[in-house]
Structure formats: C-alpha cells, structure tokens
C-alpha cells in the first residue's frame, strides 16, 4: 500500500451507532423515533443489508415473554437460576417487560412469527422451567425489513468502515470514534455526543476443530472489536470467564438446532440413542453434561429426529434449511445425512464471548448504559444474560432512546488531535512493511493457543502459559504486514482477537472457583464457592494502563429465588434407572 499521508474525513453527529447487525439498527431506529431531528450515524464494518449474526435471518425467538405463557417475573427467575445467580436482575427485568411489545413492533414491521389458527403466538417449551420459544418459520427476511425502516427514518448508514478506537473527551466521557475503510484504507473521525456499541460477540477467539479460521459458530465478522474498543475507552467488562460454548453440528459448526426440533419431538441423544439431558436449553450446566457424554463410552452425541413422522421432518428441514444457517442442508446432503434415517453428529463449539448465550459482556444497567458516560452497549457484547436476538432488539431500543435523551443535555466533547494521529499511525503500520508476518498467521497462532490453554477444563498453570504466549504474539504485531486494505482489515481484527484472548485468560484466572458448568470449570478449583465468589467480576484498564480485575457485588434481587429452586439447572442429567 502507498506510503503517502492517509486520506482523512471528519463528520459530526449526535449519536454514533457502531455495528449494523441486530441491536445497532434497532438503537438507530428508536433514537430517530424518539427524536426525528437527531443526527444518527450507523457505522458498519460490512453492509447493513446482510451484516451480523442474523445475516440470513433467524429461525425463532428463544426468549419471548408472551402473556399467557410466561410473566416477566418467571423469566427473570429462570435466567437467574440458569446463570448460577450471577445476574443483575434489573436489566433482565427491563428486557422481559418489553419483550412482548417488541414482538408486536417487529410483527407490525412485517417480520413473521408462528401463530395458531386464531392468530395467537405459538410459543413452545424448550427451557427447563418456563415456555419462551416462538418459532419464525419465515424469519429469513429480518434484515431486509430492518433496512427498510432505517431508510424510512433517514438514518445515515455508513458501510465498510471498521471502527478501531473510541474517542474520550477531556473528562473521560465518550466523544466519538476513529474508523478505517475496509476497501480504501481511508480514515473517518466521527465526533458524537453518544456512542452505542453493538459489535456482536467475540466469535473468532477459539479455533474451530476444522482449523478453518472462518468456520466459526458466530458470524466471523464478530471478532471482538467491540470488547476491545470498550476496554480501551475505560469501560468495565463483566464475567468474561463465563465463556460461550455451544452444542453444534460437528464440522459444520452451526446449530442443529435443538430449539427448533425440540418442540417437534427431536432431542439430544448419545450413541445408544438415549436421552442423557433433561433439557436442551443452552446453559453451562447443560454443556457440562454434553461434554461429559462426548468423553464417555456412550459418546459421541447426536441430534435425534429419525423417529419423527416424515411430515414433521419435512417441516423441520424447511425451517432449518432456509433460515439462520441455510447451508446446513447442503452440508448434510454431501455427507448423505438424511434426518429421516440418520442422526446428526454433534460436537461442542470453540470458546467465545457472547452475552446472548451466557452471562458475560460489557457491564450495562437497565438503560444499556456502560460505566463510561455517553457510551451505551447492546446486543451480544452486553452483559444482559442470555439476551439472544430479541434481547438485542429490546436493549438496542433502550440504548437508542436513552442516548437520545442524553444528547439533549450534552454538547460535542472536545477531541484530541494527537490521539487521532497516533491511532492512524498505529492502524497503518502494517501497510508500511514489505514483508513480515501475515494477519492470517498471527490470528491462527493466537487462536490455536486459546484452544490449547484456555478451553475448559481450565488449569491455572496452562492459563499462565497462555498469557506468556499472547505477550510474545503481541510483540510480533510489530512484524505484521498488510498488502491491501482487505488485509489491513484482518490486521486490525487480529489486534481485537489478541485483546480478547488476554481478557479471557485474565478473567478466568481471577475467579478462583468453578461456576456455570463447563463455561468456567477450573480443575484446580473444582467447587463453586458462594462465600467468596457470589459476585460479578469486572475487568478494566487500570490507572497504570494494565489489565485489572475486581469484584462487583450483585445488585439486590427484585425477584426472590426460593432456596428449593436455586439448583434446578444443576440437575440436568437424566437420572439413572
């Protein structure tokens, strides 16, 4: 790439939303609905039309709180128990109380949900205790509908710019972001009164067992940029040791999906075709039983649907092969896997961070506010446990509306020209080299070390070795070479991945107990220790610039959890006869 001075643009806005997947578009939509005069910029690394976790739609809502099926109180109770009690209930309650209104709003936009003949929502039971799963057999067009609404409300959509750092004002509050174009290498400085980060999960942390870097469970664009940016801007990140690990179709590495097949009578079985878990809802405890079965003489594990009627299987295929991960069908076809006659071999995913499925992420309150004034966070990267797609919509809405209010009483903070110049130098450094190490090599090595040393069961000494290896790779960043803007995009992503790897090791070492089933299973601290560790852990950049962790008390519950129900998710294994 050229050695000339970089091309730089600067724009001003009221609200900058970073990430155009699920939460981001809804944040932008709700900010504009609250105040149409606001300037809202939606910055996206890919193209909003097809970006994020729901690029090809979604096959259902996993956490619909629909009157007649569940109350917000029941939902808060279930999520608290499923996460071993480590949740602030207020944001979960805020989600639950708006869940139904959001379903109706999405329905009004034209997104289709499963209804019975009377027009009522057809909610199904998958969770251990309550009933929360609402299928979307025609959910393939979610992004198209969101996009239409963004255009209608005149949100300024800026595609193919990757934000690399947030800007802080002189008093620490948020002041905007610096971004780099993924096709031209041009820089964009966005000055903003409020920033809403919606960059999704950290899905390129562990290496899939296939070894293919982009064969991840998450959309691989979601590589942890949001976590890294929040960290460097001074935000606190909660419970990152509570990894995301999911049960997936082996090799294909996408969901099978038990949430879809469960209500039809499908279930997770061992090699003998027998059930071994009471419930297919994804929790750390469920994953622990899944992992144990994989290791056992009864392994491996399969999704079993071959006992169902052909008409039922046809319906399952129609949903699974047109939504969310539609290439499932061609994967099965090539291997001759037919749901009618063959069980689907399952495996566990690589590790990642994802509040959508676990209890980790940037710490936020019930308004989606992070600990940095003016910085909001929603979706998979926010710490609202198990919030899934509908949680991304609801919490995105809260973020957009609260940010709109915040803008009324704030001016554009000053920005630091020196910081921006230094950021441009940092980002462009790989383009100034003729040879060296490629982003691919640095990413592969980082993620291979993540697998070798951080994948549960976690062992103290192994995690310390991981930290040494990550420090060595960090030095190697000075040798990284990018020959075009696309490689520069990957180079920037490697830095996020390495930051997340360091955070995963640091957070895991801090919590000296085991919790959340497989997600934080420490062989040398095997017991759950409620006396010392019934708390959040928060990770942040300390005053000395080093990664630091501390405990944060759990806010008093607003929904009491009876003693007898607290262990409900610890009894997921089917009892021996």
């Amino acid at each position: 790439m050229s050695s000339e001075a970089p091309v730089c643009h600067e724009i001003e806005t009221d609200i900058l939303v970073i990430g155009g997947g699920t939460a981001g578009p809804m944040a932008a939509i709700k900010a504009k609905e609250r105040n149409p005069a606001l300037r809202v910029v939606l910055l996206e690394k890919a193209n909003v039309k097809r970006s994020g976790a729901i690029s090809m739609g979604m096959d259902g809502l996993n956490n619909a709180v629909v009157p007649g099926y569940a109350t917000p109180e029941q939902y808060v109770k279930e999520i608290t128990i499923a996460n071993d009690g480590i949740v602030d209930q207020k944001p979960v309650m805020a989600y639950a109380t708006r869940s139904f209104e959001m379903i109706q709003y999405l329905d009004g936009l034209g997104i289709k949900f499963d209804k019975d003949r009377t027009g009522e929502y057809n909610v199904r039971k998958v969770h251990h205790m309550g009933t929360y799963v609402l299928p979307m057999p025609e959910g393939h067009n979610v992004k198209k509908i969101l996009y239409r609404q963004l255009r209608r409300l005149q949100v300024n959509i800026t595609n193919r710019f990757m934000a690399t750092r947030l800007l802080n004002g002189p008093d620490g509050r948020i002041a905007g972001a610096v971004a780099c174009n993924t096709r031209t290498g041009e820089f964009l400085t966005v000055r903003a009164k409020a920033v809403i980060l919606c960059c999704g999960a950290a899905g390129r942390l562990g290496l899939p067992s296939s070894g293919y870097l982009f064969g991840t469970y998450e959309n691989p664009t979601n590589c942890g940029d949001g976590y890294a940016m929040a960290y460097h801007a001074g935000a606190e990140l909660a419970n990152l040791e509570c990894f995301q690990i999911n049960p997936l179709i082996k090799d294909y590495n996408g969901p099978a999906c038990a949430y879809v097949t469960g209500p039809f009578g499908g279930f997770t079985a061992n090699a003998k075709g027998a059930r071994f878990i009471e419930c297919d809802y994804w929790s750390g405890q469920m994953m622990l039983e899944f992992w144990r079965e994989l290791q056992s003489g009864n392994g491996p594990v399969f999704l079993k649907v071959d006992h169902l009627a052909p008409e039922t299987i046809g319906e399952i295929e129609r949903i699974l092969h047109t939504n969310e991960r539609p290439s499932r069908g061609r994967f099965h076809a090539r291997r001759g896997t037919d749901y009618r006659t063959t069980q689907v071999e399952m495996h566990i995913s690589e590790i990642g961070f994802c509040g959508g499925h676990s209890a980790s992420g940037v710490f936020v309150d019930e308004h989606a506010r992070s600990t940095v004034p003016g910085l909001y966070v929603a979706g998979d990267m926010a710490n609202v446990a198990h919030n899934y797609m509908l949680g991304a919509f609801v919490n995105g809405a809260y973020a957009g509306e609260d940010a709109a209010l915040y803008c009324e009483s704030t001016d554009l903070p000053k920005i630091d020209a020196g910081f921006i110049a230094e950021e441009q130098r940092r980002v462009l450094a790989p383009t100034k080299r003729e040879d060296g190490l490629t982003p691919y090599q640095l990413e592969y090595k980082t993620r291979r070390m993540v697998n070798d040393y951080l994948q549960p069961p976690k062992v103290t000494r192994k995690m310390e070795i991981a930290q040494q290896r990550f420090a060595e790779i960090r030095e190697d960043l000075d040798l990284m070479v990018a020959r075009d803007p696309h490689e520069l995009l990957r180079a920037n992503e490697v830095r996020s991945i390495l930051d997340c790897a360091d955070m995963a090791a640091h957070a895991s070492l801090f919590r000296t107990e085991s919790r959340w089933g497989l997600y934080h299973l420490r062989t040398d601290f095997p017991a759950t220790d409620d006396t010392d560790w019934f708390c959040h852990t928060v990770l942040f950049k300390g005053p000395d610039g080093r990664m630091t962790s501390k405990k944060r008390p759990i806010a008093p519950y607003i929904v009491e959890i009876p003693e007898a129900e607290r262990a409900a998710y610890s009894r997921l294994r089917v009892a021996a006869e």
Binding site: S55, M56, S210, Y212, F214, Y252, S327
Partner: protein, 77 residues
Amino acid sequence: MPLANQATGVPVSVDPETCIAHKGCRVCVDVCPLDVLAIDAEKGVAFMKYDECWYCLPCEADCPTGAISVSIPYLLR
C-alpha cells in the same frame, strides 16, 4: 520474513455465462459480510478473492441472475 503465495480451493463459484458484473452489477460484492468477493476487471466476472467464507449464502441468495453457487469449505465437508 519473506512472503509466499499459496493456492487454495475456494467454496464460492461464479458462472461466467450468467454473471452480469460487466454490466455494473456489484450485488454479491456488496452483501458479503466477510468482503471476500471481488470483480475481475478483465473478464467482467465476480470471483472469490480471499478464502474467508462463512458459507452464509447472501451472495447466492441475492444474486439477480443465479450465477453464484456456494459449497461448504473443503476443510469442513
């Protein structure tokens, strides 16, 4: 360290007969989340430039002429 160029088989195929990139179409390039598709200026046809595919299918689904077919990357098949 010096760099090498290593060939690899990629999962996205484009039918040159039906691709209308030469008429200015950029749909597949626009929608790919991983930004791995590009246009071969000489041939006027889209192609997969980087082996970084999530086999997610927007390129295939949104192509106006059905010129694209995505297979599962070999390492995963």
